[in-house]
């Protein structure tokens, strides 16, 4: 059974639709990420789940019961805030125990839970400190401990890692995920960082302008983005989106001459991930190298095909002068096509290679076409 069921919720701020008819389900014990750029309605959605905001319409069911108008405390959820929302005058112990004291949990029970949670998040030695005496990472752990100690089955997290530095964020990502698995918590996690979403989520709900753009597991969002927006939002560097136009033999990348697809362009956009492109000696599509960005493990090459710019990610160091001619190739299964007008995916790579073998032979066609 779904721990949380959201049905057609809408939130209006005056005339603005912050959340616009959003529905989704969060299965029990799963880690679900609400992902999107700032202002997409993900935080508002989370606050509606928490009961801190009331939806203008729609229903929120928690454990099958309608909780749309219920007070936050009745929902048996805990929440980790972006700012941590620690009580600055209370020490770590009192911060963690705040909720248990409100609910008048017996003293022995409180101490037992505190000891366990402090051990779990590594705060056992810091219980007498005030929040101001803690580092960012430690404060984050206190906020986490406060959520865990309540032993509520559902935990909502609003960008909990965004105030940490990059290295710590990566560590906490793993730790958070391990903790969630170990405790079997249902987590709804809001972030604008696609890498965070990819690495932690069982399921990603990608939002834009108050609506759900695409929903699925990380593989689905990466492998089969449903829209141009999803394609450009997931992955770093983002997917190359290349405008197609009609060439003499079939569709070509705008401004170039080598056919990349059979048939007319039909206002379609070709999507290729930088990490799926190769640089070849022969075959492929000729391109002009613009710049290289060496990152250690790999190099991101900026290049131009016709009028279209694209990024190519190659392993190790790639040395070349700007302006050098290169040839770019890709396999058909890595090809995405979108309709330029609606922004939606028109067909997927597997279907394409099945119905039309042309892209498979791009390299060959290109080398033959090179002479023409």
């Amino acid at each position: 059974m779904a721990a949380i069921q959201v049905e057609e919720i809408t939130k209006l701020w005056g005339a603005t639709r912050a959340v616009d008819g959003v529905s989704f389900a969060v299965p029990e014990g799963r880690f679900v990420v609400l992902l999107g750029p700032s202002g997409c309605g993900k935080s508002t959605t989370l606050r509606i789940l928490a009961g801190l905001e009331e939806p203008s319409s729609g229903r929120v069911l928690i454990d099958g019961r309608d909780m749309t108008r219920a007070a936050p405390a009745q929902r048996r959820i805990s929440m980790v805030f972006q700012s941590y929302a620690l009580f600055p005058h209370l020490d770590v112990r009192e911060n963690i125990l705040f909720g248990l004291k409100v609910r008048r949990v017996a003293r022995e029970e409180r101490e037992r839970r505190l000891a366990r949670v402090a051990e779990l998040v590594g705060l056992a030695d810091l219980l007498d400190r005030k929040p101001a005496q803690l580092s960012g990472g430690q404060r984050q752990r206190v906020a986490l401990a406060r959520a865990i100690v309540s032993e509520h089955p559902i935990c909502l997290m609003d960008e909990p890692l965004s105030n940490l530095d990059a290295k710590l964020r990566q560590e906490m990502r793993l730790e958070l995920r391990a903790l969630q698995r170990r405790l079997g918590m249902t987590v709804v996690y809001v972030t604008h960082d696609q890498a965070e979403a990819m690495s932690m989520a069982d399921r990603i709900i990608l939002m834009r302008a108050g609506r759900i753009e695409q929903e699925g597991d990380p593989d689905a969002l990466y492998g089969r983005p449903a829209t141009l927006f999803a394609a450009s939002f997931i992955g770093t560097p983002p997917m190359n989106l290349l405008t197609l136009e009609d060439g003499p033999e079939g569709a070509v990348i705008a401004g170039s001459e080598v056919k990349v697809l059979d048939g007319p362009a039909e206002a379609r956009i070709l999507g290729l991930r930088p990490e799926h492109l190769r640089i070849t000696e022969t075959g492929g599509v000729p391109a002009e190298l613009l710049a290289t960005d060496y990152l250690g493990a790999d190099t991101v090459i900026s290049a131009r095909i016709g009028s279209q710019r694209l990024g190519i990610r190659v392993a190790g160091r790639y040395r070349a002068e700007p302006g050098a001619p290169i040839r770019v190739a890709w396999s058909p299964e890595h090809l995405h096509l979108f309709d330029a007008r609606s922004g939606r995916r028109t067909c997927d790579a597997s279907g394409l290679s099945g119905t039309d073998p042309a892209p498979v032979r791009i390299a060959a066609t290109a080398s033959k076409g090179g002479g023409s």
Binding site: A50, L52, I77, P88, S150
Partner: protein
């Protein structure tokens, strides 16, 4: 390197000088001069001023009126300070919430603060005037016995206290309001998620976090309770029978009605010492219990 550091020190002193001159000439020098004068007798044309040691202080201890005004002042402080602070906090919490016409209510609460005390006293004089005053008119309309509010030694001080509370609460409210608005809203949300009632949240979180403001307001309230005497000039002139005289008003009378400069200096020293002690005590005692961000 050393030269530039010295130059910096010169600049520092130059920047401090204007304020230092003002403070020295109008605060520190008068204080010391007052202390000095309290050890001398008041000079007249026939008997020049001479050193009398602690004679002035001895006289003060035997002065019945002094003890009367000290008692009045303690009662005045006890009557105004807790009530005005509690009222200020209550008003601040109320106007910090969502209510229609919030700006108007805030302004209304703050208005007494911006009025000069003399004007305030005149308004309240109209309330308190026997027979034709507002209070008596109201009482009469309910067929209740009227009274001479400011002429009755038993109630005159309470009338002054009510006026002072009315004048001060709005001023203190502004500080509480600012402090309340500085509290991050997530704290309340976190408490709500844990199921804390508003009263519990206020007691465990808001009130402790407002303690720095409370200390500041408390120090101000204590000082004001000894300092605010303008209303007495309009309303009672300390009467009847010194029933409403406060320490500072008594000092004024001694100095400028009786022209006993030395005794006035003596009383001033006592007032200053008492205020300094109270402030020091508040800071030392309360500081340990206050969380500063």
């Amino acid at each position: 390197m050393r030269a530039s550091r010295r130059l910096n020190q010169v600049y520092g002193w130059l920047l401090l000088t204007p304020a230092a001159i003002l403070l020295l000439s109008f605060t520190h020098y008068p204080t010391v001069a007052t202390l000095w004068q309290s050890f001398f007798s008041t000079g007249t044309a026939l008997r020049p001023s001479r050193f009398v040691g602690l004679d002035n202080y001895r006289f003060m201890l035997e002065d019945e009126i002094f003890w009367k005004v000290v008692g009045n002042n303690l009662l005045f402080a006890a009557g105004t300070i807790p009530v005005s602070i509690a009222l200020a906090l209550l008003m601040a919490v109320w106007v910090n919430g969502r209510l229609p016409g919030r700006a108007l209510v805030r302004m209304a609460y703050f208005t007494p603060t911006i009025l000069p005390m003399i004007a305030v006293a005149n308004i309240w004089l109209f309330f308190y005037t026997p027979e034709i005053g507002l209070l008596d008119q109201i009482l009469r309309s309910f067929d209740l016995p009227t009274r001479n509010w400011l002429g009755d030694p038993d109630i005159v001080l309470w009338c002054i206290i009510v006026l002072a509370v009315w004048k001060e609460a709005g001023f203190f409210m502004i500080f509480y309001l600012a402090a309340l608005q500085a509290l991050p809203p997530e704290l309340e949300e976190a408490a709500r998620l844990e199921g804390a009632s508003r009263a519990y949240y206020f007691r465990r979180v808001v009130f402790p976090l407002l303690m720095p403001t409370t200390l500041f307001v408390l120090v101000n309230a204590v000082i004001n309770s000894f300092k605010l005497v303008d209303q007495l000039f309009i309303l009672t002139k300390g009467g009847p029978d010194n029933a409403s005289a406060l320490l500072l008003y008594y000092i004024y009378e001694v100095a400028f009605s009786f022209f006993d400069d030395s005794y006035a200096a003596t009383l001033t020293v006592v007032l200053l010492a008492a205020l300094a002690l109270i402030s020091l005590g508040q800071f030392l005692f309360l500081d340990r219990r206050i969380h500063y961000r």
